[in-house]
Amino acid sequence: MSVSIKPGYALPAASERRRRLFDVGMSAPGALTTSVLVLFALGIVLFLGFRTNDGPLLGGGFTLSNFTAALSDPLYATVILRSLAIAGFVTLVTIVTAYPVAYYLAFHAGKHRGLLLFVVTLPFWTSYLLRVFAWKVVLAYNGVLNSALLTTGITSEPILAFLNTPAAVVVTLAHAYAAFAILPIYVALENVPRSLIEAAEDLGAHPAAIFRRIILPISMPGVMAAALVVFVPTVGDYVTPALVGGPNSTMIGSMIQAQFGKANDWPFGAALSVIVMLVILVVVLAARFADKHLGSRT
């Protein structure tokens, strides 16, 4: 007996129902997490941003004054611009320094690749706060770096300029987010077709040309992913500027934290958070637009 399946064959109603139930069951945890933990939390922040700070936890009435106050005060614009500049510089430094490591892992590591990946990611098993504090010990007036410079005779007295500077914030954040840059770039480099490189080599292309014309363009999606993963959390970071940054390194995260803490003005802090989220959204969309239209791919 032969069985023929018609082109428009549909599953029986009971099987179809079971399949839909299975789909709903599989997507429910993710949907629940997204809606409760992300969208609800964002909704609360947005709601708080439009409330007045007159006693109750969720404010007393609706107002636009939080947004107008934040947008009209040049202090917040300065701090947001500084946060964007520091985060942009951290992203640049992190990616430029992480790219060669990812390149080595993808093309040169050979049988040691797994071990090297483990070695590169191992420092990130320690607490973020601990790593930032470690840099405080390194860069302090009597810290490791100054002690080493004094011992070797490079300087005759400790240098004040290491700690409490924007440079200290950049170095610390570049260290903190190194793995988040290495891994996406490594994955992108792993997907570079080796046959393309071999064909270019056979045709006599210089290694620099192979890198510029083949490897770099194909790895750009990984670079963009790494840039986003580093840039977005760095803009709002407040632990690192608080521990190793000085008065010139105050970032918007510290000001938001102050509103929710000492100032006890949650609606104003929420309005600042919403403004920062919108600014980050604009920057990310601009980066995506630039990546798409200004030719990251050849």
Binding site: P100, Y104, F107, V120, A134, G143, V144, H175
Partner: protein, 59 residues
């Protein structure tokens, strides 16, 4: 696969070792710093102690 050539590969290896040192050295300082008895983040520590090691309970 060695698109960059063996000389560049050697330099790359040196760079990767330096980068791994950059990742590990600050963290390696923390266990060392736990022996510091000063209230300041001074290094090297002038006074070392082992206070974090709990004394055995007396019977």
């Amino acid at each position: 696969m060695n698109a960059a050539g063996s000389t560049n590969g050697t330099w790359l290896k040196i760079y990767v070792i330096a980068y791994i040192l950059f990742l590990y050295l600050p963290i390696a300082i923390i266990p060392l710093f736990s022996f510091n008895n000063s209230i300041q983040a001074a290094f090297p520590s002038e006074r070392l102690h082992a206070r974090m090691v709990p004394e055995p309970p007396r019977q």
